[in-house]
Structure formats: structure tokens, C-alpha cells
Amino acid sequence: MSAREEILDRVRSALADVESSDVTETPIDWSYGRPVDTGDLRLVDRFAERVADYRAIVERVPAGELGATVAAALAEVDGPVVADPTVRGRLGVDLNWRDDDGLSAADLDSVAAVVTTAAVGIANTGTIVLDHGVGQERRAASLVPDVHVCIVDAEQVVSDVPEAVARLMSQGSSVRPQTWISGPSATSDIELDRVEGVHGPRTLHVIIVG
């Protein structure tokens, strides 16, 4: 008997006490996907506050100032910056741009910064979700460079995880690769002292537009 058949057989005989084949015999009393309260702060303010709480840099700007804000955020960065053509077009500023045309891991290591958009922002947890669609780069590109500038539009911000999951499903993101980012890379493994910056970008700069 194959391992698959044997394990499934073992599962079925272990569950001899389960009489119904209907999964709903175990009810889940929970309403999915609903928005929740964001407390004393409005949605986008709560998002900005919670992202900053992770010691990420957060700015809120009108659409017209986005290009200048990104350029200022990258003023100190020494080296090439990866962003896809849609992002560059939207920013309209001249930087040391580099295409991510399948860069190797070693090449990515020599990239100084990456600019991406996002799929969803979550207010109560201060999380940005990338589904690595247009404008968001593939997963490795937002990981290896030391600086990540992420553009979130105000209307992308939702209250909490349930609403985010519902929105990601409706956008078709649930079968795409996803990265949920809550602040810069961090560790608490040595005496539970939080240290920002281990393997992922040490600087996370979130710019909220609108």
C-alpha cells in the first residue's frame, strides 16, 4: 500500500467515532470578513500610528507630492534602486533606477533600495500586504535590498485582518504569492530584546498617498 493510502486509511480508522460525513457537523460560529472598529483613530490615522509603532518610517502625502517624497526618502541611498515601470511612471522622478529583469541573488544584493506599491494596508495591525502583482516586484526584490519604500494608497487601507483577507480573496490574491510585512525585519531571540534589521530590509519606509 502506498504511504498516501496507508495514512488516509489510518486517519479514517482513527475517526471511527465521527458518524457524519458532512463537515458542517462541526459548526464554526464566526462571521467572516467583517470590518471592525479602529478605536479612537480613523482608519488611515490608525494605520499610520501602528506602522510607526514597529519603528518603520511613515509619511502621509497628497498625490502630487509622492515623487518628491520618494526622492527625499532615497536621498541618502548609495546605489541602484529597483522599481517597475508603472511605479517609475507614477513617481516621475529621475533616480538611479535599475530594472529587475531576473536579477540573480548576488545582483539583488548589490541593489541599494526597492520601491513598490502594495495590495492592502491593515490599520489595527499596521501591516502592508504585497501580492507581488504589477508595481510590487517579485518576492526576492522586496527582500534582499536594505531599504524598502512602500507606497500605500489611502483607499487600500482596511480595518483589520478579517477585512484584509476578504479583500485579498475578492482581488484574486489568494492564489498569488503574498508577503505580509509588519515593520522592518526584527528579532527578539537574544534575551527578548527587540533588534530591528536582521535579514530583510533594515529600513522600511511607508508612504501613504491621499
Binding site: 495514512i7 464566526w30 526576492a140 484584509a164 498569488r176 509588519s182 526584527a186 527578539s188
Partner: protein
């Protein structure tokens, strides 16, 4: 070279007589919990480190859980989702396999540790690589994958900072989430300086014990491994049946490195990790980070479904692992332990864990969850596994914090019964004989009065003493730690007769 636990430690804590970490093999001479705990209790550095660390994490958890006004609702939902999964596990496993396969992953099944390790070794060999980078994973520790890879001549590099400290220190993990919780910063510095040079980029010579500098040393040491690695190995926190997705929750970005840079990704996933639907993630991505690290959301969560052309590994393998989980599932009470999402909240609140530390439990799963999960996965034939259900004061704090509402005290009592039943093999125990005698005595008021008379008469032997003190014989161990009051000079019945004359107390 690969560091394994089989190698003698160059210095520091000797591994001799130390409990085995996996749950797959039986380690001859593994001490039972009370013996191991006695040794660990004497380690004052560890007790100080643990009290400090668990104190911080308890406060953080309490504060972020307090922010949610629907926490109890979330726990009930998490419990119900896991119960539904377990009660229909065959359906969900088949659904997961179908969707993951459709998305481009190759699904393998492994009956036990040996089979899982063989599949991994064969897959790594097919790539021609002789090293792998690893995301922290309890399942691969459980099956002792690093040792199996080493035996096959493959180097396995742990990339989580705490796992790196444990691996370089020839040590054992002592906590599910923070495996090096028993080490302080100066010990970490010493380990990095001594061992990093043997396996790759050396630690900077001017390394201090500042956690910031230590994390930087780990970053530099591991980066060369990430950038050249052809094979990554992970576990998964969740496997989603209706999409075939896997989910890994982490903080440092080492997970993202291993999950996206290599060409081949092999994920070892316990069969109990399945969730019915993608929508269910909303419950677990709330309860897991708040319960484990005390954060609203952990820094990084990676979710992937099969293979995405041009993004991440182009060969994705998933190994669905039984390794005795179906035995646990067969116990209608014990199966609740399979709801565990390995958050480790129960460790951080446990007064026994805080003092004894993780090593005393003799398993990769320490603390309250380890005390119920390990004897179920490994069986209760060895001394250590028989002792684990007793490694608790049954205070109940573990149940209060458990995000999937596993009633750990109830399961501990359930397993104690199992140990006692197996041990007794049909012969009455001393307790059973004593209780039988008690029942006989209480069965008649005359016999009870006679016994009370005998006891109160014996009172004069004790003089002015208030307690009996240690008793020799079979009760020596029990009585040496307890104050047993001496019998009263007069029984209640005698007092009643004296005070109320001939009037009999109503019974």
C-alpha cells in the same frame, strides 16, 4: 561541516545524559522529568534568563490580547475550525493535495520520520546540492532531519537566529518559539566567536555582547549561505485546503530568504496543519502572533501556492507527515492536542516550565503542550514519557492562554490515567488497596468511630507537636514535602457526645 547534537561539545555544557530532542527515537538512559528537572533547577543562570524572558513575553501578550474585545470569540472560532479540520482530516488532506498539485507543487506522503527523511535526502540529492538552508521548523526537528541529512553528507544550515545559536553551541532547543531562551547575551557572543569560523564567515573579532552587534554578526554569517543556496527546507504554520497554499510566519526575514531565493523548496508539513479554507486564515493570523510573540502581527508572513513562474522556487515539494499523529487522532480525548498551533503561550505562563526550563522535558516539545503531546506521539513506554503527564501542578494557566482552547489540565489527567492503567497491568496498586480499606471503614459508623478512637488515642504519642513529619516506608517521598497535622485529641463525634449528652448527631 555540519554540526549535530551527536558531536561532543567542545566546551560548556556537556551533552552527556542529556535528553534526546526528537520524538522519533528512544534515548537510552533519558532521565525522567523529576530527575532532569532537579538538575536543571540548579542552573541559576538559566532560571534567571527564563524568569526574565518569560516575564517580558507574558506582559507583551497580555497587553496585545487586551486590545481585542473579541478575543474569546476568536479563540472559540479557532477551536471550532481546528475541530472541524481534525474530524474530517481525510477530506481536507485530499483537497489540499489536489489544489497544491494543480498549482504546480509535488505532494509526497510520509508515514514516519524515516520515510520523510528519506524523501528529503533523495530530493536534495536530485538537485546535486550538498547543502540546504533551513527555516525554523518543529516538524523537521521532530523527525531529526538535520541528523539524517548529515548522515547523507548534506550540510543543513539553520538560519533562525535562535536556532543558529543552538546549532553552533552544540546545544538543544529549550523553547518552541525562542529555542535559545536559556542563553544570555554573553554566552551567545562566546558561541559566535568560537564556532562561526568553523562553518563559514567568522564573527567579527571585536564582537561585543550587544544584541544589535550579535544580530549583525548573524546577518553577515548567514547572507553568504542564503545567496548561494540551491535548496531551501521549511515547515509550515498552516496548509490551506481550498487553495493548496502554505503559510510561514516569522520575524527575521530568514524565512523569506529560504522560501524565495533557492531553486528548490521542500516543505515538511504535519498532517494536522491543514485549515479548511483561505478565509480561515483571518482567525489564525490574529491569534498566532498575539499568543506567541505578543505582537499584533509578526514582521513577516509568507503565503505561497505551488509555483509562480519567475518568482521564487520553481520546484516546490510538500511532504505530508504522519509520524504517529494518526495515533493521537485515534484518542477521542487526546486528539484535542492536535489543535496546537505551536504558539508557545502555554510555556511562557507555566510555573513549572519557568523554573525547570525546556531541556527537562526531554523532547522538542517542552512545557505544558509538550507534556501532553510528546507522550502521545512517542507512546508511554519510557520513563520520561511516563513522567511527563505529571510535570504540572494543574494550575490551569496554560488553558487560559491557549488560543485554540486545548484543555491541557484535562488531558494531563487523561494521560495520567493511561500511564497508571498501562503500568498496573491489572494488579491493584497501593492507592487502590488504601481506598478499598477506606471504603470499608466509612461503610459503617461503628467502624469509623473505632478508627477515630484509635487515631485520637494515638495523639498522645505526638505530645505537643502540631505535625507528624516525615513517615518512613512507602510514604516517605510524599510526607517529606508535606505537613500532616497530628490527629486531634478528641474526634467530632466524641465532642458532640460530651457537649450534647445522649443526643445523637443526625446523619
Amino acid at each position: 561541516m555540519t554540526l549535530t547534537h551527536a558531536e561532543p561539545a567542545p566546551s560548556g555544557k556537556p551533552p552527556a545524559g542529556h535528553p534526546h530532542v526528537g520524538v522519533t527515537s528512544t534515548f537510552v538512559g533519558m532521565p525522567k522529568f523529576p530527575d532532569a528537572a532537579r538538575i536543571e533547577l540548579a542552573n541559576t543562570t538559566q532560571r534567571r534568563n527564563l524568569a526574565h524572558a518569560t516575564g517580558i513575553i507574558r506582559d507583551k501578550r497580555a497587553s496585545v490580547v487586551g486590545e481585542l474585545d473579541n478575543w474569546e470569540e476568536l479563540r472559540l472560532a479557532a477551536e471550532a475550525i481546528k475541530n472541524r479540520t481534525l474530524r474530517h482530516l481525510d477530506d481536507y488532506l485530499v483537497q489540499f493535495e489536489e489544489n497544491a498539485t494543480k498549482a504546480g507543487a509535488v505532494v509526497h506522503w510520509a508515514r514516519d520520520a524515516e520515510e520523510a527523511n528519506r524523501i528529503v535526502v533523495d530530493l536534495v540529492r536530485e538537485t546535486g546540492s550538498d547543502e540546504v538552508v533551513k527555516v525554523k521548523s518543529m516538524a523537521t526537528q521532530e523527525i531529526e532531519l538535520n541528523e539524517a541529512l548529515q548522515a547523507a553528507g548534506i550540510d543543513a544550515w539553520e538560519t533562525d537566529l535562535a536556532e543558529l545559536i543552538v546549532q553552533l553551541g552544540d546545544d538543544w532547543p529549550s523553547h518552541i518559539l525562542v529555542p535559545a531562551i536559556h542563553r544570555n547575551r554573553s554566552e551567545v557572543r562566546e558561541i559566535f566567536l568560537r564556532r562561526m569560523k568553523d562553518v563559514g564567515r567568522p564573527a567579527p573579532e571585536d564582537l561585543t555582547d550587544d544584541p544589535r552587534r550579535l544580530a549583525e554578526a548573524a546577518r553577515l554569517h548567514l547572507r553568504e549561505k542564503f545567496l548561494r543556496a540551491k535548496v531551501g527546507i521549511s515547515g509550515a504554520n498552516f496548509a490551506v485546503a481550498d487553495t493548496g497554499s502554505l503559510v510561514v510566519v516569522e520575524s527575521e526575514g530568514n524565512g523569506r530568504m529560504c522560501l524565495t531565493l533557492p531553486e528548490t523548496l521542500i516543505s515538511v508539513v504535519g498532517i494536522e496543519k491543514v485549515l479548511p479554507s483561505w478565509a480561515d486564515l483571518e482567525v489564525f493570523l490574529q491569534v498566532l502572533p498575539r499568543s506567541s510573540t505578543g505582537e499584533r502581527e509578526n514582521p513577516y508572513t509568507s503565503i505561497w501556492t505551488g509555483v509562480t513562474p519567475g518568482d521564487g522556487p520553481q520546484n516546490a515539494h510538500i511532504i505530508l507527515l504522519d509520524n504517529n499523529r494518526t495515533n493521537v487522532l485515534a484518542d477521542e480525548v487526546g486528539r484535542a492536542a492536535l489543535r496546537c498551533i505551536r504558539c508557545s503561550a502555554c510555556l511562557n505562563v507555566c510555573p513549572v516550565y519557568e523554573r525547570a526550563g525546556g531541556h527537562a522535558y526531554g523532547s522538542v516539545y517542552p512545557g505544558p503542550i509538550g507534556a501532553i503531546l510528546t507522550p502521545q506521539l512517542r507512546g508511554t513506554s519510557s520513563k520520561v514519557d511516563q513522567s511527563l503527564p505529571y510535570a504540572s501542578s494543574l494550575c490551569g494557566a496554560c488553558f487560559d492562554v491557549c488560543p485554540v482552547r486545548i484543555d491541557i489540565p484535562e488531558l494531563l489527567v487523561h494521560l495520567r490515567t493511561r500511564v497508571v492503567d498501562e503500568h498496573r497491568g491489572g494488579r491493584p496498586t497501593a492507592e487502590a488497596a488504601a481506598f478499598k480499606a477506606m471504603a470499608w471503614m466509612f461503610g459503617s459508623h461503628r467502624r469509623l468511630e473505632a478508627a477515630q478512637k484509635a487515631a485520637t488515642t494515638s495523639n498522645r504519642f505526638f505530645g505537643r507537636r502540631k505535625t507528624i513529619g516525615a513517615i518512613p516506608g512507602p510514604l516517605a517521598g510524599w510526607s517529606s514535602a508535606r505537613d500532616i497535622p497530628v490527629p486531634p485529641a478528641e474526634s467530632f463525634r466524641d465532642w458532640w457526645k460530651r457537649e450534647r449528652g445522649e443526643q445523637e448527631p443526625r446523619s
